[in-house]
Amino acid sequence: MMTLDLDTLKRMVHGIITTRPDEIGCDECFEQLDRFVEMTLAGKNAAEAMPLVQDHLERCRDCREEFEALLAALRARLIGGG
């Protein structure tokens, strides 16, 4: 069987050790993502204001991908004025 490579294993171990009991799931993250992304865009400290969303985005690749894409869309719109 294939085994985990070193980097993936380290990330997995790190994920286990930093597990917190109050983590939110993808649904709750999605609910709050529009507010989180607007704060980020406004240069406010979204991570501090919404730490559970930040924590989820660090752990969940699917949600992080969507956050980054949404941020890119809004940032471009802001610059483009549309």
Partner: protein, 205 residues
């Protein structure tokens, strides 16, 4: 294109101005998706139009759930991005099944030894103890489904959403399942006397 406040969007989409508002919203979503998915060579304009169209249906169906905590267009774009990524992940992984090795997974996906050039002798000793414990407790503490999901995510590199689809669950429930797995493993590690601080130091990413 008319600039609208949140209330104006909601009123227009629910009232006689709906057709015009839909045209405007669709155009905004398509443009936003173009930026959101910039750099992907596997997409053309018609794909963006399709994503926007599907998103519009979801947006209209979910208007009552918009709580006004952001700009309406941010909320709508969020839904369009979700629609697009769901479809793109589905396309990318369509022909891939959960690996046969995930059918009856044990803990063999955790290596028993590591070649970690960045670790000193003391760290390597901690790593060895830790890995052997981890291999054992993954077998003892986790359910088959938890191990199966772990292998699909970590070895196959499959997105959470696609693993969930194949396991007849959804992304949120699968995240919770894996959160539970991490909690169990951490609790057991502590019970076995492994110090989180030492482990973090030995496995610093």
């Amino acid at each position: 294109m008319t600039e609208r406040t949140n209330q104006e969007w909601l009123t227009a989409l629910r009232g006689p101005g709906r057709d015009e508002a839909l045209v405007d919203l669709r155009a905004l979503l398509v443009r936003g998706l173009g930026y959101a998915l910039a750099g992907r060579s596997d997409l053309d304009d018609s794909a963006l139009e399709d994503f926007a169209q599907e998103a519009l249906l979801k947006i209209l169906a979910g208007l009552d759930s918009f709580r006004g905590e952001s700009r309406f267009i941010t909320w709508a774009q969020k839904i369009a991005v979700r629609v697009a990524f769901t479809e793109l992940r589905h396309r990318r992984w369509r022909d891939v099944s959960l690996d046969e090795m995930t059918g009856n997974p044990d803990s063999d996906f955790i290596p028993s030894t590591l070649v970690d050039p960045s670790a000193g002798p003391e760290q390597q000793a901690i790593q060895r103890v830790f890995l052997s414990t981890l291999r054992r407790i993954i077998t003892e503490e986790l359910t088959d489904r938890q191990r199966q999901a772990l292998v699909a995510l970590r070895i196959q590199g499959m997105p959470l959403e696609e693993v969930a689809r194949r396991m007849s669950t959804n992304r949120n429930a699968l995240y919770k399942l894996l959160h539970d797995a991490r909690q169990r493993l951490l609790k057991r590690m502590m019970a076995e006397g492994l110090s989180p601080k030492d482990m973090l130091a030995a496995f610093e990413p």
